[in-house]
């Protein structure tokens, strides 16, 4: 529970080597920060989890965000309520979404690389602003529409299909007319869940099944669109099953654990040449002028019941570090969120 005078922080104590662990963070307490020029002081309400957070923890950082120094609180996407503001676009009481950090009272530059967005009054759960109307929904929307250009008849494969972004990407691909939708995920239960609850035609358990063989069976005409959240060996295998002129969206590389900026590259990348593939990246800031369009489309699909929202909400600020490793061995599908406090 948030205390009015104490600010708890989960700071980066040691950079992870390999997989991130709760021991990489330390709990420190201090006074609530004072407002600074141009900034906004928030009370944290929810933190969202994102596989890229492991990448943010590297010494170099991700590039699109500043590196996190040791002793500083861990960066996170989140929802907060404005307590005090020195920026005319934000006023006390506003509920906002954007980049903050693991502390009860984040002091935020609202015009940073991921600007704070004031959330509208709405008749849907506040957390949806971090899932379907947040980074995951927007990434899925622009990735499937603008990146992959999914159209009627396409054979679409999505890795990390049970993840927050993958689930929404699958839903959107179906809405755009994908004829076949195949998920790649870890574990038989999750694969069954994807087929039963998330509209997938089939799901491949890359841990228990032969991905190469299953893709050959399920996509005999080749894959027209691949939404890649994992990189590594899975990307390499999918390369060999792409259709001529196929499209690949590079959205993430969770399989690497984002351990290093220097990763294993896809050895089969010359398929880009042999089949004249188009491989495109996605980074949300490049779409900042089109956010309204995306949210309108997503909201319409959700309202019509064509796009479903899957969230898993865990309670308590003290659990922030222990949830992060579960992103890389996630058991439950959908967006993972930590509930920190309620708005006042």
């Amino acid at each position: 529970m948030t205390n009015d005078s104490i600010n708890r922080q989960w700071v980066v104590a040691r950079r992870p080597v390999g997989a991130v662990k709760p021991e990489n963070f330390a709990l420190v307490q201090g006074p609530v920060p004072s407002l600074q020029k141009g900034k906004v002081l928030l009370r944290a309400l929810y933190f969202g989890y994102d596989a890229a957070q492991r990448f943010w923890l590297t010494e170099q950082g991700a590039g699109y965000l500043p590196p996190i120094n040791l002793g500083e609180p861990m960066l996170t996407g989140g929802i907060g309520q404005v307590i005090a503001s020195d920026n005319p676009s934000y006023k006390a009481g506003d509920i906002v979404e954007g980049l903050m950090s693991w502390q009860d009272y984040p002091l935020v530059d609202p015009e940073g690389p991921i600007p704070l967005r004031v959330l509208p009054q709405a008749d849907y759960p506040l957390t949806w602003n971090m899932s379907v109307f947040g980074v995951n929904g927007l990434t899925a929307y622009f990735g499937v529409t603008d990146g992959l250009k999914v159209k009627a008849g396409d054979t679409v494969v999505i890795s990390s299909a049970g993840g927050a972004t993958g689930l929404l990407a699958g839903g959107i691909a179906r809405i755009l007319g994908a004829a076949k939708l195949v998920g790649i995920a870890g574990g038989r239960d999750k694969c069954q869940w994807l087929v039963r609850n998330a509209g997938y035609d089939a799901a491949i358990d890359y841990k228990g099944e032969d991905l190469d063989k299953r893709l050959a069976e399920l996509c005999p005409q080749g894959i027209s669109c691949y939404f890649d959240n994992v990189g590594g060996a899975i990307l390499d295998t999918v390369f060999m099953h792409m259709a001529n002129l196929g499209r690949i969206l590079i959205c993430g590389a969770i399989s690497s654990g984002y351990n290093d900026t220097k990763m294993q590259g896809p050895g089969n990348y010359m398929q880009i040449c042999a089949r004249q593939l188009t491989v495109q990246g996605i980074l949300l800031p490049f779409y900042k002028d089109r956010i309204g369009e995306a949210i309108a489309a997503l909201a319409k699909w959700v309202k019509e019941g064509r796009l479903r929202v899957h969230e898993e909400i865990v309670e308590g600020f003290e659990r922030a570090p222990e949830l992060l490793p579960t992103m890389y061995a996630v058991k439950n599908p959908g967006k993972l969120l930590l509930h920190v406090a309620d708005p006042v």
Copy 2:
């Protein structure tokens, strides 16, 4: 010199392990082949060299061509004269260009993966049909226009810049308005030649200079378009200097020597995501309906003196194998061709 009754062949005797060597081929002699149903019998006039030939020699082959079995003559692009034809589109005396093999009298399926093309009577050298109006010119044209979409103001970097395709790609990029044109090539002499004779603003000798440092100096605003003929470490380094929303064309991977289908992938490929790059492949058969458009544009530029043709022509069928390794340590810029015989 071609003999009227003996057909010399350079057959694949041993598959190369690592770099290709003349010893991978053996000279055999036999009778001139008889015409077969649907086929065309040629007298070979010129063979062209292409870095991808090393890839064709692997057991699996390149994918877009059938694998070459041991004991069969080496495949090559070439120019020949029709001696006899069982296909109504080709008649004796026609000069044709397309896929053939290292023998005096290739017997060719004219409608194979790289169809035979009857060459028009023209006022330019026959060999230009294999360079500026052949695979290299067409690859450069579609790669720069359709793949990279080079436009006025772009910073364009080309690897293997002194190669047959790279040289033409550089010329075309300049015609389309590239503001800065930087070549990557091996050796100081070749780099000087590129700046003096081929219109490059600068050329980086990747063997003698620090590519990373030089790219930072030469392209401080980032690279908007990269035409990649080499793959490997050079591609990886270029990835780190791409501008936001930059485009990369994957045209080849000569640095790998095309030794294996499983190559070292680019470890920095996550820049595709971090800078939202578009990486596209090129394989000429996908452009087969647009060849006329390309040749018309190329011919116009050549006629206007805006695009220059660079060729190196070597004499004698017996030298076919010894020239192939020089593709991977090429000293002279431009298209490498072997002159076998003259038309009658």
